[in-house]
């Protein structure tokens, strides 16, 4: 219920929202959780596995239960943690993982079968006859929220920042550090996940330097860059941190989450600590809350979660809650597990050496059985709220991610960070405000390199009493919950130990304890303490599981940032890109370049377009945009010698003005790239790697030069983007070239196949190369890329009377298949050697130790049964075999693969299907029929040489 006064809420601003369709009201300053509690909502969720009704436990990131579905202003979050979402007017909030709703979930019946669903039940209950039968149903029931189907088209901001000091946490310790470091003149970023700075100062009234704690917090904020509603979710290498900042509003088209990547020279972890639950029978009933959270809701939002309250504790900190509740008018009884009670104020009833033994109540807590730990006696006490404190676990997650080590402190019953001056506040185990302020101040001064600013002053507190660790109450009774979100009980921990899972990492994975969206913030320490007891070890010896980012969930959209839609990945455009679009090109991503697959006419299918273009290019004249092909200029006194050490083929004896088709190998001997090497002068070459490998080839050349041959005089310029290249191909190609009007002599004698020349084309520098990937006479014309559009259009104009049509890369793929020209990565894979392709010459004749040479001499490289590149003619001329289908033979009653189809298409010239493949011992099998297996069926083909059109290559010379 809501108290009539108090809290840091604005009662002049009522906010309307709905909970599972019911209209409710809250105020500015509420979280969804506090608003639900104020409206008397007790059941906010159903647990993951057993669908048990659950209520709100905590007030912040520690909350394990209240995962809800929130829709507001067109934004949908199916996995919101109710304690972390500020209430806004018009929010529609729903429970998840229940039908029809969390209050009356029919799947609650699953809990009746809990005996058959212990930890590891996948491998036990549902093993026979076949796990796969049950898996789809079980998976369908898993998960919490339902993902929406609307596509999020917004971009999300990413900001990179550098600072001298990153302070994580805006409570008193973090703020004291900010005050000290800011005064020292270092650049500081402070991140705090709450909408308002202050941390515990917002929960507990305090006076610092004579002013109210919250006001002091606000006054300090100006000392540095403060990011509110910002969670540091990960500590990464070398002082880099990931931060997620939330805002209510963002500019049109932008999401409200912003990712910060911060590089900090120094850091201060002022991340606080998290209250632990006590483990006792039925400790998951709605109405059982963290004592500290009760106080946060009480002082923060004037919410009283119950009127008849039992406070169960094993340490002093819960007494502040007991007093605050009593002051608010609740009837309070403290059950202290210790023999000596804590700091009792007048009138507070305390039962020493008393713990909760059981709880009851159908739609939420109604009573608690209290008694000694051994359960010898019990008294049933009515209560609608049980505020629990089992101790405090410092929030060491980020500290540990950053490489910091922890040690178990027996006296405080906590894992403390060995952090020196990088940690301040309750993360160190400090319990009182004065110590937190002093630690933060010292840490801030140290980070700033010193200073004489005095620490903020507050009233000192008496030393707290000791904690009595109580890891489990009454071990044999009832179901005692350890991980609320993943429904893991103390018995599951015992089961894991019994089955041999003694490591805390195994405990986690076997029981899923600590693997839910709350990442075990309230269950990790309790779980490992139980494991320690079950395996006869100390807690220090068991240790914690490894902490990994993210600390709290981060939306994938925030990590993607601007990378979505058109900007999902850099895509290169050809210089004449717009012209291709205007011609109806079907543009696709080929190796990072947008290239035309073919140019469809209106009403034409892609297959028809390819057939039309291919036939035209073969019989008349085609025009192809090859501007994406790499162009690397190589120059130097040692250029020839160096390239000869790189390429498989001999390039040092290439004459200026001549081209050679060459392979580049990896050191494993595997073919990495093929391309054309042109010699321009004695000391100058022009390399043409394939479009998708240009960067890789350049990287390879530079790597070998720098690391293996640094004394060789050679340099590399990637000029790919500076030149546009168009291929004119077909029987009428020379006819067009003779009309082109360049200064280059294009006669067969002056420019034969595999030759090149430089000149000008209407005043533009141009390079002409006779190189063919179609098998027909081809000229590649290169001009500066700013003139790409002009020259493309000029070529189409000149070519129109000659029947010229543009053709795309899919068409080229068909034309080259007719000739058996390989495509790297299609006809070759990570195992293909030059010998497999029938290219053995250089291995025999080339003397230098080119890259990969030695690998071509190994037993595996020289065995006789290697797969070899061959052609296949399917028996059925209309059957185009599926690429990747295997050719098979029978062996010992089973099928054995002999290889596979690498390329296949209809040949427009031959008007029948053709295929290329890599077949075991293929070259010796010419004329043999093989069986091709695909999707349960067998077809047949005859092996032949890998060339179907013009085997002698006469068409190249036109």
């Amino acid at each position: 219920m809501r108290l009539p006064t108090g809290g840091r809420i604005d009662r002049s601003k009522p906010l309307r929202f709905t909970w599972d369709g019911r209209a409710m009201t809250g105020y500015a300053g509420d979280s969804i959780a506090s608003a639900l509690l104020a409206n008397g909502v007790r059941i906010v969720a159903r647990s993951f596995k057993y669908h048990r009704p659950r209520g709100i436990w905590g007030a912040g990131v520690d909350e394990p239960n209240a995962v809800v579905d929130v829709v507001w202003q067109g934004q949908h979050d199916p996995n919101a943690r109710a304690t972390l979402v500020p209430l806004r007017d018009g929010m529609a909030v729903r429970g998840v993982n229940a039908f029809p709703n969390v209050a009356f979930d029919v799947f609650g019946a699953i809990d009746l079968f809990h005996r058959f669903l212990p930890a590891g039940f996948y491998y036990k209950t549902f093993k026979w006859p076949n796990w796969q039968r049950f898996e789809p149903r079980i998976r369908a029931m898993a998960g919490l929220g339902r993902v929406g189907t609307l596509r999020d088209t917004r971009a999300y901001e990413t900001r990179h920042a550098k600072c001298d000091l990153l302070i994580i946490g805006g409570g008193p310790a973090g703020l004291a550090a900010l005050r000290a470091a800011g005064a020292g003149g270092v650049s500081v970023i402070l991140a705090d996940d709450q909408p308002e700075l202050g941390g515990s100062l917002l929960t507990d009234p305090a006076e610092i330097d004579g002013v109210d704690g919250a006001a002091w917090a606000a006054s300090v904020a100006g000392q540095g860059r403060v990011l509110s509603r910002t969670t540091v979710f990960g500590a990464y290498d070398d002082g880099s941190y990931g931060l997620l900042q939330l805002r209510d509003h963002a500019p049109e088209g932008w999401g409200t989450a912003r990712l910060w990547v911060v590089r900090a020279a120094k850091v201060i972890f002022a991340t606080g600590s998290i209250e632990r639950p006590l483990v006792f029978p039925d400790n998951d009933r709605p109405g059982i809350m963290s004592a500290n959270a009760v106080r946060r809701f009480l002082h923060g939002q004037a919410v009283l979660p119950g009127r008849t309250v039992i406070v169960a504790t094993n340490n002093d900190s819960a007494y502040a809650t007991a007093h605050a509740l009593a002051a608010a008018g609740a009837s309070v009884l403290v059950a202290d597990a210790r023999g000596e009670p804590g700091p009792v104020a007048a009138g507070l009833r305390v039962l020493p050496a008393t713990v909760p033994l059981a709880t009851g109540g159908r739609r939420g807590l109604a009573w608690v059985d209290l008694g000694p730990q051994d359960g010898a006696r019990r008294e049933r006490v009515p209560a609608d709220l049980l505020a629990v404190s089992g101790g405090w676990s410092p929030a060491v997650h980020l500290f540990s991610q950053g490489g910091g080590t922890l040690r178990w402190d027996e006296a405080l019953a906590a894992f403390l960070p060995d952090g020196g001056e990088t940690v301040a506040g309750s993360i160190t185990g400090a319990a009182d405000l004065a110590t937190c302020l002093a630690q933060g101040h010292a840490a801030g001064l140290a980070a700033a390199g010193g200073g004489d600013l005095t620490a903020p002053r507050t009233a000192p507190a008496p030393a707290p009493g000791k904690i009595l660790p109580v890891w489990q109450i009454h071990p044999s009774a009832g179901r005692q919950w350890v991980d609320l979100q993943n429904d893991v009980t103390a018995k599951d921990v015992g089961l894991a130990a019994l089955e041999g899972y003694r490591s805390v990492e195994h405990l986690k994975r076997y029981t899923t304890l600590g693997m839910a969206t709350d990442q075990g913030k309230t269950s990790n320490v309790n779980g490992l303490a139980l494991l320690a007891a079950a395996t006869g070890r100390g807690i220090a010896e068991v240790g914690t599981t490894k902490f990994r980012p993210p600390f709290t969930p981060v939306p994938l959209a925030a990590l993607a940032g601007s990378r979505h839609g058109r900007l999902v990945a850099p895509l290169r455009e050809l210089p004449a890109h717009d012209d291709h679009l205007a011609l109806g090109a079907d543009m696709r991503d080929y190796g990072g370049w947008a290239r035309p697959g073919c140019y469809q006419h209106i009403g034409e299918t892609v297959i028809a377009a390819i057939a039309r273009e291919a036939e035209n290019a073969r019989l008349r004249l085609g025009l192809f945009d090859g501007s994406s092909l790499g162009k690397i200029e190589v120059q130097g006194a040692d250029a020839a010698a160096f390239l000869n050490l790189m390429y498989y083929n001999e390039v040092a004896n290439l004459r200026p003005g001549r081209l050679r088709y060459c392979l580049l190998l990896r050191e494993t001997g595997v073919v990495f790239d093929d391309g054309v090497v042109a010699r321009l002068a004695a000391d100058r070459y022009l390399l043409s790697p394939s479009s998708s490998h240009t960067a890789g080839v350049l990287a390879m050349l530079q790597a070998w030069h720098q690391t293996e041959y640094p004394t060789m005089q050679v340099a590399f310029h990637d000029v790919t983007a500076a030149w546009a290249t168009f291929a004119v191909s077909g029987p009428r190609a020379r006819a067009l070239m003779e009309q082109l009007g360049s200064t280059v002599d294009v006669s067969e004698a002056a420019l034969p196949h595999m030759a090149m020349a430089e000149g000008t084309l209407h005043g533009l520098p141009c390079r002409m190369a006779r190189v063919s990937f179609t098998g027909d006479t081809s000229y590649e014309i290169s001009v500066p890329s700013s003139y790409a559009t002009a020259v493309w259009r000029h070529l189409l104009d000149l070519g129109a009377p000659l029947g010229m049509m543009p053709y795309g890369i899919e068409t080229l793929s068909v034309l080259r298949a007719e000739k058996g020209y390989i495509l790297i990565g299609t006809d070759t894979d990570g195992m293909t050697l030059p010998v497999d392709l029938g290219l053995e010459g250089p291995l025999r004749t080339k003397r230098v130790d080119f890259v990969g040479k030695r690998s071509l001499l190994t037993p595996d490289a020289t065995r006789a049964d290697r797969r070899q590149f061959v052609g296949l003619l399917p028996d059925d001329p209309d059957n185009v075999p599926a690429v990747g289908s295997h050719t098979v033979t029978g062996q010992c009653g089973a099928r054995r693969s002999l290889g596979w189809i690498t390329s296949a298409c209809m040949s427009p010239l031959l008007k029948r299907s053709i295929a290329l493949g890599m077949i075991e011992g293929g070259r010796a099998r010419t004329g043999e029929t093989v069986e091709i297996f695909h999707l349960g069926g067998i077809t047949r083909a005859t092996i032949c040489a890998p060339v179907f059109v013009d085997p002698a290559g006469e068409r190249l010379h036109g």
């Binding site: 900001r159 500019p251 290169r572 210089p575 994406s628 120059q635 340099a715 500076a722 500066p784 000029h794």
Partner: protein, 149 residues
């Protein structure tokens, strides 16, 4: 003689230097920018980029490649440049002092970045210029008319 026209890359913030030349051979202190027009930008221990702004730079001798058509130069100015850089690159802004240049990744793409007067120049390969222009256009909307309700 046929008149072949030069296409301009159409996007906001694009400037067109008169010439761009890759030159291998000259030695210069790493990540420095020498001169004004032409300005010589360090790329590698043995390689520089010579940018001629008003007129083509006279670059002779050694291994020279004319890549005037191969790069697009974006010139960013205005109150939001620091934020745009913070969104596009992890580069420490202190590395963009006068007389310095840096090669880095900008919007995920290889870029050469340096100050020119009050503005920041970003050179990218021409094929990727459309992607970077789209990225800049989208990023600009993060600042234009930000709502504060």
């Amino acid at each position: 003689m046929v008149e072949l026209t030069r296409a301009r890359f159409d996007a906001p913030n694009v400037v067109t230097p008169a010439s761009l030349h890759l030159v291998s051979g000259p030695v210069q202190a790493p990540n420095t920018a020498e001169g004004d027009d032409p300005v010589t930008l360090w790329l590698a221990p043995d390689r520089v980029l010579v940018v001629g702004w008003a007129q083509p730079a006279a670059v002779t001798g050694g291994f020279v490649s004319d890549i005037t058509d191969g790069q697009i130069v974006f010139q960013l100015s205005g109150p939001n440049v620091a934020d745009v850089l913070a969104m596009g690159t992890t580069l420490d802004p202190a590395l963009l002092a006068p007389g310095r240049c840096a090669q880095t990744l900008f919007a995920g793409v290889r870029a050469l970045v340096y100050r020119r007067g009050d503005a920041v120049c970003v050179h990218v390969d021409r094929p990727l210029a459309r992607f970077v222009a789209d990225w800049l256009a989208q990023t600009a909307t993060a600042f234009a008319g930000a709502t504060t309700r």
